[in-house]
Symmetry: C2
Subunit: 308 residues, 2 copies
Amino acid sequence: MSPINLAIVGVGKIARDQHLPSIEKNPDFKLIAAASRHGGVEGIAIFGSIDELLAAVPDIEAVSLCMPPQYRYEAAHKALSAGKHVFLEKPPGATLSEVEDLQAQAASRGLSLFASWHSRYAPAVEAARALLASTTIRSMKVTWKEDVRHWHPNQDWIWQAGGLGVFDPGINALSIVTHILPRPVFITAATLEFPENRDAPIAADIRFTDAAGLDLSAEFDWRQTGKQSWDIAAETDAGRMLLSEGGAKLALDGKLVHEEPEQEYPMLYRRFAELIGKGRSDVDLAPLRHVADAFMLGRRKVVEAFYD
Amino acid sequence: MSPINLAIVGVGKIARDQHLPSIEKNPDFKLIAAASRHGGVEGIAIFGSIDELLAAVPDIEAVSLCMPPQYRYEAAHKALSAGKHVFLEKPPGATLSEVEDLQAQAASRGLSLFASWHSRYAPAVEAARALLASTTIRSMKVTWKEDVRHWHPNQDWIWQAGGLGVFDPGINALSIVTHILPRPVFITAATLEFPENRDAPIAADIRFTDAAGLDLSAEFDWRQTGKQSWDIAAETDAGRMLLSEGGAKLALDGKLVHEEPEQEYPMLYRRFAELIGKGRSDVDLAPLRHVADAFMLGRRKVVEAFYD
């Protein structure tokens, strides 16, 4: 099979760090063009907008959309209307409703839409899912604490309304939790901390439960200096589970039981090729739905101003 | 067919004003019991909790849940687990995720779940829908302004986190808009005004669009004294449409074209009986999804304190 002609739109940090190297190594795709307001990609035709891109390069079969979520719907709608398969970076959109609409558009055109959740492809996530399916979970605690100055330096869009703030990393945790738990959960209470000079939260404390009364809590914080925490811990009948380093390592009662090299974005592109090959879409809105639920249900607390 | 044995849980203002009179007049239902922390219902056995109700009256076939949304999931889960059909007052829950979970529970047990949106049954709504389906819409403006002191006197729960604030009436407008428009819409920007002493918004200004670029805006305000406004106006190729008084009247270019007596709750109970008879559910989450999207995407503005 000849490779799928791919274009990338929004050539920022995540595109350079993850998408371009993964596409480069995947023989199912051939990157033939890009659109970006900022930088180009060496050896690839670059355009100033998705409209110019789609008009100038009719051979494009699929596009990866890596711009901030506030601008993703319009680009996705244009790409689907032009008959292209679409890969959406996370979060898949600025609202749930727009992504539902894109799903319907892709379905009606027989195109593949992939709402990607890279953290679900972290090395030890499937092992954690298998473990939890085989035991009884007594409680679970998610701790996602990182230094926003280090990971998102001067990325203004994440602080704007719709940019999600600390839920930008937190949604990675939610994408894992919703994948490894045996039953759906829902939020019962949340507190969101907004810096007085920002429109998005810098921290969140969230309580969930499920139909069986599971005790699940999550703490997201962007003010963590020093050691960073991306941990999901659970007390189970099989022992104390710790899925750490963002899903990279799994330990049971302190003993490491699963670790392998990180391959998140290469696996996302393998999945995207598989979806296109099978004529299917993969759009799980559960992680974004929990974020929307947290904003709707959560109590707002104003905290000290944040400056980059 | 013998009537369906019904129980009502949460006997507050909406139950007394709307549910009880509608059930009384509908021969498909027989009200046999109620649960309420506050008042009773004349001639009907009353219990202090849904647990006591379900244990004491096994003949119950369906329940109507009229407590505040923060407490609805637990009651619905218990009722479905006991094999009862469930009618949910609006909004159907405190989160989208919990209602999705209830939908799955009802489906797996072959029970009917009805997420009711009473305003969709307002007298002129179907006529507005037919009009909009037959023309091109240039723009639409929703104005939903009422006096919270008059309509929700001392109802503390609507001001708590999860109580939705001005979206409690606003979701009625959204339930109509999502029903009468020919295509799905999504929010592009929103401003939510929170009184400095409350955890829920008192006003909201929302911009929507759709795949075709529709210009749709909504203004919700709870500080309206004097004349109250529950209007949906649209500029269309057929003329200026005005759906006013919460969906009661439809005018085209200033001329009244549809008006009939209000029958919202009687129609809801007819619909519920129909769903039970057909073994189906009716759970459209679009109105609540827009509310969650507005909280997630919206900018928060703190305004002066509100006292009842």
